[in-house]
Symmetry: C2
Subunit: 270 residues, 2 copies
C-alpha cells in the first residue's frame, strides 16, 4: 500500500515539476547545429541530431552556429513585407525581428513610397509595387485592410508573386489580402480571432479555423492575430533552416514561450 | 486496490489536461470589468471580482470594457519611449503595441529629431529631449546602447525624468541606460540573458538576476531581452489599470502565452 502512495507522490511531483519547468527554466543554449556537408542541394538546412541527411544521404557534421550563419549569407532569403497604411504594428514588427535575426533580407513594399502610419510610428517603405525586388517569401499583415483588398492594382501584384515566391505568409487579417488574391482558394487558414466567421463568409472556398495559432498548407501559411506573427515567422524559419536553428532564433529574441508545434501543419512532407 | 488505480488515472488525466489547456484552449473573452464608482482617486483601476474597493471602500460595479476604455480617455497616461539609433526593433515595438492598445499616449523621443535605424525599419522620432512632453512613464530599450550610455546630455535628461515620471521601464540592455542614470542604484534588476554578468560588473550597487522575465521594484521595472518587453508592458498596464484590463489587452493582441505573475515582484504593496 505504501508503494502506491509513493507512486502517487512521484506522479504528482513529476507533473508539477515538469509543468513548472515550462514557465521558469531556461532551455540549453544552442551554439552549434548538425548540417549536411556541402552538396549543393541541402546546405542551408539544420538537423536536430547526428546521422545521415534524409535528403542526400551524406553523414551530418556538427557546425558552430556562427559558422552556419556565415554560410547562410551565401544564399540570402529575400522576404518582401507588403505593408499598407494603418497596418497593425506588432503584426509586422514581430516577424521582422524574427527574419532579420535569422539573417533573412527583409524589405518593405507598399503601393507607393508615401509615408505609412501604424499605431505609434510612421515610416516610408523602401519599395513600391513597381520596383520591389523578387520575393522568395511574401508576407502580408492586418490592421486596416479593406482599402488594400479593394485595390485591384495591389491585389494583382500580390497574385503575380505566385510565379516567383516560394512561400506566402499572412498575419492576422492579412488573410483577407491573400484570400482576395486567390492564394487561399481550397486551402485551410486562420486569422484574427474576432474575424474567423467573417473571413469564412468572405472566402467560401477556404476552410477557416478558430483557436489555431497558425496553419501551414505547404507553401501558404496563415496565422492568428498580432503577436501570433512571431510564431508563424519562427515556424517558417524552421521550414527553411531546421528546428534547431529556429530554436536558436527564439532564444536570441528571448521568446522562451515558443512551442514549435503549436499550430496546424497540413501536408507535413512539404 | 481498484480505487487507488482510479486515483492514479484521475491524477494523470487531470495533470495532462490542465497542462494541455495552457497551450491549446482559449480563455474566456473579457468584455466587462469591476470598477469603483467615480470618487476621484481610483476611477481608472479595474478589479478581478465584485466587492468593496480596497482603496476607498465603495462597492464595486460591473462596467463594459468599452465604457471603461472611454472613461480612461479622460485621464490619458503619457508614455515616453526614449529611442536611440540602432535600437532593437521588437524591444520597443512590443511595448508600443501593448501601450497603444491599452489607450496610453505613446510618444517617441530621441536626442535629436534625426532619422533612427533599427533592424529593417527607419523612422523619425516625434520629439527631441529638448521638446519632449512630460512623461508619466519613461521607457528605454536595448540594441546599440553604448553611445547613449556615454552621452552625458542624454543621461542627464533621463535622470531628470525622476522629478516627474511615476514609472521607469527598461527592456533588454536598456537597463544599462537606467543604470548609468542612477535609477537602478540599490535596486534589483534584469537584462538580456547574455549581458547578466556584464551588467552586474557595471552596476555594483544593483542586484542583477538571471532567468527572470522582469523585476519590479515598485516604480522601476526592468525586463529580460527583446520579446520580454511585451510581458513587462502588460505587467505595467496591470499595475495601472488592474489585472482583468491587462488580460483583455493580452487577448486583444492574441498574446495567449502571457502569464501575469511570470516575473519577480518586489515591494508588492507598491
Amino acid at each position: 500500500m505504501k508503494r502506491i502512495y509513493l507512486v502517487i507522490l512521484f506522479l504528482l511531483t513529476y507533473f508539477n515539476i515538469s509543468h513548472a519547468q515550462t514557465t521558469t527554466q531556461k532551455s540549453t543554449i544552442i551554439d552549434s547545429v548538425f548540417v549536411c556537408p556541402p552538396c549543393g542541394s541541402c546546405d542551408y538546412q539544420t538537423f536536430d541530431k547526428a546521422g545521415k541527411c534524409p535528403m542526400c544521404g551524406m553523414t551530418l557534421i556538427r557546425m558552430s552556429l556562427n559558422d552556419f550563419k556565415k554560410q547562410l549569407n551565401l544564399k540570402p532569403v529575400t522576404v518582401c513585407f507588403y505593408i499598407q497604411d494603418g497596418v497593425e504594428l506588432l503584426d509586422f514588427a514581430g516577424p521582422m525581428e524574427v527574419f532579420t535575426t535569422a539573417g533573412f533580407h527583409v524589405v518593405t513594399v507598399s503601393k507607393t513610397k508615401t509615408e505609412l502610419h501604424t499605431n505609434g510610428l510612421s515610416f516610408i517603405p523602401q519599395y513600391s509595387i513597381k520596383d520591389a525586388p523578387k520575393a522568395d517569401v511574401l508576407v502580408v499583415f492586418g490592421g486596416s485592410f479593406a482599402e488594400t483588398v479593394a485595390d485591384t492594382a495591389v491585389i494583382s501584384w500580390i497574385r503575380a508573386q505566385r510565379s516567383t515566391a516560394s512561400y506566402f505568409l499572412s498575419v492576422c487579417t492579412g488573410a483577407y489580402i491573400l484570400g482576395k488574391a486567390g492564394i487561399l482558394d481550397n486551402m485551410t487558414a486562420t486569422t484574427y480571432f474576432l474575424q474567423i466567421d467573417n473571413l469564412q463568409k468572405t472566402l467560401p472556398n477556404t476552410k477557416v479555423l478558430a483557436n489555431t495559432r497558425f496553419v501551414d498548407n505547404g507553401n501558404v501559411i496563415t496565422t492568428a492575430g498580432i503577436s501570433a506573427g512571431i510564431d508563424g515567422a519562427l515556424y517558417l524559419v524552421e521550414k527553411l533552416r531546421g528546428r534547431d536553428y529556429a530554436k536558436s532564433i527564439a532564444q536570441t529574441i528571448e521568446y522562451d514561450k515558443w512551442i514549435p508545434d503549436q499550430g496546424l501543419v497540413l501536408n507535413k512532407g512539404n
